[in-house]
């Protein structure tokens, strides 16, 4: 099988999300990558060095600058003439593009896979991660999105893929990019962090959230996450949200502070290696999944913990 992997990149840098997808793709066969964008030479070079990559298709054109699905999907469909599977990370980019590609190819997409069982059989979570389905695809070509935390990341060095330019398919002319508001993070990125400190509604307000959670996160070199309640209450921006409708994370250590543990939140973090919960309600559902629990007032515990670490 020949696979085609979507390379996610930003500001000339290849994003980590791609590396796990390369690992998933290598279980299916020969790994080719597609780098689409404007001025993506450096990204293509980095992509070619990923271990296991055989070929990198590069589409350098202004039409692909913001990865608009309307422009990118026809490009991928063209390349699928000589590939058997298209894999993308289950990120906001991947989820936006892959189903559009699938429908154009008249195949059903397999979303957010957790494992590759064989060339046509995969496991994926449903019902907010409360049920794991094993599905077999009857389609000739496969379109798949990959859950990044379920696969090891491929090494960024050691590969020697050949780079090949691809003719642009042009601008569909139905959509345009207006602008972006990207949240500046001084801490590690949530989806790739080894340690995450996450806060919930109990943090009261934005300044309290900052004053309580951030020092602990900084002490641990951790990324900061939040429950939907904390995001909806405006304590932190929405891209901090961990859960079924936010980001899916699986760090080494997940510290849940003042989070009750609703199923939608657990869907986003219950594959973390170790879960630490700090909550004043000893019956909170979070304690049913926590490896280490501490019952008590977070406003006393968290500062004390920060100081003693």
């Amino acid at each position: 099988m020949k696979t085609l992997v979507w390379v996610e990149h930003e500001n000339g840098h290849l994003k980590d999300a791609t590396l796990a997808v390369v690992t998933a793709a290598s279980k299916l066969g020969e790994v080719h990558l597609i780098v689409a964008g404007e001025g993506v030479g450096a990204v293509a070079d980095a992509a070619a060095r990923i271990a296991g990559v055989q070929k990198v298709h590069v589409a350098d054109d202004a039409a692909y600058a913001h990865a608009l699905a309307e422009n990118v999907a026809p490009l991928i469909v063209d390349l699928m003439g000589h590939h058997d599977a298209f894999l993308a990370p289950a990120t906001s980019h991947g989820k936006n593009i892959a189903p559009r590609v699938a429908a154009l190819l008249d195949v059903m997409q397999i979303s957010d896979i957790l494992s590759v069982e064989s060339e046509d059989t995969f496991t994926r979570p449903t019902y907010a991660g409360n049920a794991i389905a094993t599905v077999k695809s009857k389609d000739a070509k496969k379109v798949i999105t990959v859950r990044g935390t379920a696969f090891e990341k491929a090494a960024t060095e050691g590969g020697s893929g050949t780079i090949e330019a691809v003719a642009a398919t042009g601008d569909a002319g139905t959509s345009s990019f207006v602008g972006a508001e990207i949240v500046k993070l001084e801490r590690p990125e949530l989806t790739s962090a080894k340690i995450i400190v996450s806060g919930g509604r109990a943090l009261k307000d934005g300044p309290t959230f900052e004053a309580t959670i951030y020092p602990l996160a900084d002490k641990l070199g951790a990324a900061v996450g939040a429950s939907r309640a904390a995001v909806d209450a405006g304590y932190v921006p929405n891209d901090y949200q961990v859960g079924q409708t936010g980001k899916i994370v699986a760090p080494e250590v997940y510290v849940a502070v003042g989070i009750s543990g609703a199923i939608q939140h657990l869907a986003g973090m219950k594959d973390s290696k170790t879960i630490v919960a700090i909550n004043k309600d000893e019956d909170a559902p979070i304690f049913q999944v926590a490896d280490i629990g501490l019952v008590g007032d977070l406003f006393k515990i968290v500062p004390e913990l920060t100081e003693k670490l």
């Binding site: 913001h66 699905a69 309307e70 906001s92 980019h93 989820k95 936006n96 892959a98 189903p99 559009r100 590609v101 699938a102 429908a103 008249d106 195949v107 997409q109 397999i110 979303s111 059989t121 979570p125 449903t126 019902y127 409360n130 049920a131 794991i132 389905a133 094993t134 599905v135 077999k136 695809s137 569909a172 139905t174 959509s175 345009s176 990019f177 207006v178 602008g179 972006a180 508001e181 990207i182 949240v183 641990l220 909806d232 921006p237 891209d239 409708t245 080494e252 250590v253 199923i263 170790t274 879960i275 000893e282 999944v289 490896d291 280490i292 629990g293 501490l294 515990i301 003693k308 670490l309």
Partner: protein, 249 residues
Amino acid sequence: MKILVPVKRVIDYNVKPRVKADGTGVDLANVKMSMNPFDEIAVEEAIRLREKGAATEIVAISIGVAKAQETLRTALAMGADRAILIQTDDEVEPLGVAKLLAKVVEEEQPGLIILGKQAIDDDSNQTGQMLAALLGRPQGTFASKVEVEGDSVSVTREVDGGLETVKLSLPAIITTDLRLNEPRYASLPNIMKAKSKPLAQKTPADYGVDIAPRLETLKVVEPPKRSAGIKVADVDELVAKLKAMGVAA
């Protein structure tokens, strides 16, 4: 402008799903069902656009069992003008749903189609994008803000690093994210009124679309259970545990 809003009847989001012992799926017998939460947001957004004068008619549509009528009545009670049920007892995958919706779009010619970003049962997050592909129209997925401006619509999207705004020419497809709006509750008088609003009954055969599933579910199992944890008495004990794990120096 007409707005088409596809809605799905799913297990209520507060219910903890139970996997059947024989591994064939999730037990939905006697389980509370509701409108998919993202679809409620889609209905609400359509109503708000009509209230702003950007839309004239709202058509809700659902594909599924006869009981999906209840879901459509909910949409009508919120403010949709009429409804279409494409009734089938078979499970229809996102690709099949998108194909049926594409046929309905041909008939109805809506200027906007607003869907939820994903259904909380299959968690696919595909139908809107697939419909956009089949229609050759632009897509504004994971929308947290929608503004109709003449013959285009500006959509602010929730992306991994923050927000991004795109401009789409109409007709366009939008999928809703949680923060787009807060859906209204249907009032009792509106629930009564909704009973007399038109609800057309169709079948997939009326549209001549092949909706045979492409994916075969071999088995459904519960996720691996986490082993029982421990509770520590105080911060010192917690610090000791974290240090033992190598998390802190």
